[in-house]
């Protein structure tokens, strides 16, 4: 055991290197910046490459190339920077190029950006949401596995708190050897054989086979793969005291930590309040949320934005139980998402009101 005090950003970087990531490119933006800094020092030590790209467009382009060359690769940014990357994320899904995208958001205003994507076309990206540094290692490793399995970009969403919280953590686990390059990936060697490989968002049918790019057939194939991916990824959530809860809170990431503290405290007073914490934001754990809502009097979605995840909760629960949003917090002056009215006290008061309403 060699536990030490580490910052969340370093935990994220460390988790990527351990998961076999050997290429990283990014452009500084708070709170993504520190992850980039840590990658810049960690990757060369294991023979990897980290590029301080001149823009987010170039960062994701570089990752497109490194991943197509068979390397576990990742990029990331914050709101605006991720908006710039959306074209490539959407089309990487059509090209069958998998990599990890860190969405180091500020508050939780980028839930839609992460779960819907801002890109074009019929694509989806799996989204994993750790609620603290201790969970980062496993989820980052899962994200790379999913990117490999489905040959699709996978998002890991964090926030200012995750990036900047210092925790005492055991950082001694082994660094995995990078997995071998997958068979579909490019290494130049099939050139001149009459069967040179092609990786393209337009499809992989070659003219020598009597067909050119057939977009209709390619997009149909991508749609089928997307359906398989949707069905093939088990949605995950953590349930706390939801069995007999009158008030069921739904919260992810940092907000779930506040909710967890409130649920623990109110349970100690005998109040029937519970928490569902979605871990996969896509696929959204619809059945788990619906099951937890069943028998409750109200479902309250606690999120640090104007109400985004509440849409998914509505889709999950339907109209059987009333759903309220605990959202719309103040914007902090730094705009880093540290809303001053996100406090355990305020949430406790809100939940008490809901409990009173439930009993009335």
């Amino acid at each position: 055991m060699s536990s030490r005090l580490v910052e969340g950003s370093e935990v994220v970087a460390d988790a990527m290197v351990r998961a076999g990531c050997r290429f990283f490119a990014g452009y500084p933006m708070t709170p993504f910046t520190e992850v980039l800094e840590h990658m810049a020092s960690a990757l060369p030590e294991v023979g990897g490459v980290c590029i301080n790209a001149e823009s987010e467009l170039e960062a994701v382009g570089m990752v497109w190339g490194a991943a197509a060359a068979g390397t576990r690769a990742a990029t990331g940014s914050t709101g605006q920077g991720l908006s710039l990357m959306q074209e490539s994320i959407a089309e990487a899904s059509l090209a069958g190029i998998g990599f990890v995208v860190l969405n180091m958001a500020r508050g939780q205003g980028d839930y839609f950006q992460a779960t819907r994507g801002g890109g074009h076309g019929d694509y989806r990206t799996p989204v994993l949401a750790p609620w603290g540094p201790a969970e980062v290692g496993d989820l980052v490793a899962d994200a790379f596995d999913l990117a490999d399995e489905w040959r699709n970009p996978v998002v890991v969403i964090g926030d200012y708190y995750l990036a900047h919280t210092w925790v005492d953590l055991d950082m001694s686990s082994e660094v995995a050897t990078p997995r071998p390059s997958p068979a579909w990936a490019l290494d130049g060697s099939s050139g001149g054989t009459g069967a040179a490989k092609l990786v393209s968002p337009l499809g992989t049918t070659k003219q020598r086979d009597g067909v050119g790019y057939d977009l209709a057939a390619h997009y149909a194939g991508c749609a089928e793969r997307r359906e398989q991916m949707t069905a093939g990824i088990a949605p995950r959530a953590e349930l706390t005291h939801t069995d007999d809860a009158e008030v069921v809170l739904v919260a992810y990431g940092t907000m779930a930590r506040y909710a967890d503290a409130v649920v623990t405290a109110l349970r100690a007073e005998g109040e029937r309040v519970g928490l569902v914490r979605p871990i996969t934001l896509w696929p959204f754990p619809e059945d788990i949320v619906a099951g937890a809502a069943e028998g409750s009097n109200v479902v309250a979605v606690y999120e640090n934005n104007a109400g985004q995840m509440i849409d998914d909760v509505r889709i999950s629960v339907g109209k059987s139980v009333p759903i309220v949003g605990l959202n719309g917090f103040q914007t902090d002056s730094s705009a880093f998402g540290i809303a001053p009215d996100v406090t355990v006290e305020n949430l406790t008061a809100s939940v008490r009101e809901l409990l009173a309403g439930a009993k009335a």
Binding site: R22, F23, A25, V49, I51, A53, E54, S55, L57, E58, A59, G61, M62, V63, W64, G65, A66, A67, A68, A69, G70, T71, A73, E87, S88, E91, A95, L186, D187, G188, S189, S190, G191, G192, T193, G194, A196, K197, L198, V199, S200, P201, L202, G203, T204, T205, K206, Q207, R208, G212, Y213
Partner: protein
């Protein structure tokens, strides 16, 4: 080539020569089969310069014996028609993004001859910063720009290289510097960046220029193989469709109009240390 809308052309009835087989009466001085191109037949416009330029690039790779250690990264434009027609590995990039994609490849596979193929719209308009940054980072790749002074693919629109007086769909009376700004000389721009190994501009409007261009591409790959950093070859190509002129006039139009602004020649050549 998705949108071909010839403007002001009378329809001609002559039979167009097939390009995938040698004409019966041809006096062949070289093998007619293009190197490393799967299917010789193509669907670009008759008289298009891009297939000639791509053939020059593939010939250079064959000459240098790089077929099984090279990788093409294509942009989006008319030449994308060749991205699924080569016998070297191809990674298709998005419009404007080929140099960063090629960077990701070369950093992970430094032994490869990684090269990009982009149009002037793709490289100069959509993604100009990419090639400049890749050049300054000293990425050891070959970047090819097929310069026809238009977005051929969308139907003949103004690009950053369109010459003064050139008619395009959005400069229908000809490019006027006061109204539409000045053309940029991309090769000159790249030639002054530290970290660049080789820069040249060729053309495919006549046999002499094709042969010269092929030598430039060979030099570019040789420089890349010597590890001299980014090599850049701009190739002036005919686009009769996007220039709104008869097919057979296009080579002369290139020489008289396009090459007047974008002069053919070698602009930079670093000698390798070895």
């Amino acid at each position: 080539m998705t949108e071909r809308r010839p403007v002001g052309l009378e329809v001609r009835s002559e039979v167009v020569l097939p390009t995938n087989v040698a004409p019966e009466d041809a006096n062949l001085v070289a093998d007619f089969t293009p190197n490393l191109i799967d299917v010789g037949e193509h669907h670009l416009c008759p008289g298009c310069g891009e297939p000639i330029a791509i053939r020059a690039v593939m010939d250079a790779i064959a000459v240098l014996g790089l077929a099984d250690k090279s990788m093409a990264v294509f942009g989006i434009g008319c030449s994308t028609a060749f991205s699924n027609n080569l016998d070297v590995e191809v990674l298709q990039a998005l419009h404007g993004r080929a140099p960063s994609v090629a960077t990701g490849v070369i950093r992970m596979r430094p032994e490869l001859a990684v090269f990009t193929i982009q149009g002037d719209g793709d490289m100069g308009n959509e993604g100009l910063q990419e090639v400049l940054h890749a050049a300054a980072r000293g990425e050891n790749i070959v970047c090819i720009m097929l310069n026809n002074g238009v977005f051929g693919e969308t139907g003949g629109h103004l690009t950053v290289t369109t010459t003064i007086g050139q008619r395009t769909k959005n400069t229908i009376e000809g490019r006027d510097a006061d109204k539409h700004g000045h053309p940029m000389r991309i090769a000159e721009l790249i030639a002054q960046i530290d970290g660049v190994g080789y820069v040249a501009r060729g053309a495919v409007n006549d046999a002499g220029n094709v042969a010269r261009t092929k030598r430039m591409v060979v030099e570019a790959f040789a420089s890349q193989q010597a590890g001299n950093g980014l090599s850049f070859v701009e190739i002036l190509t005919m686009c009769p469709t996007g220039w709104f002129i008869p097919t057979e006039d296009a080579p002369d139009y290139l020489a008289e109009t396009i090459a007047g602004t974008h002069a053919v020649g070698v602009l930079r050549q670093e000698q390798s240390e070895q």
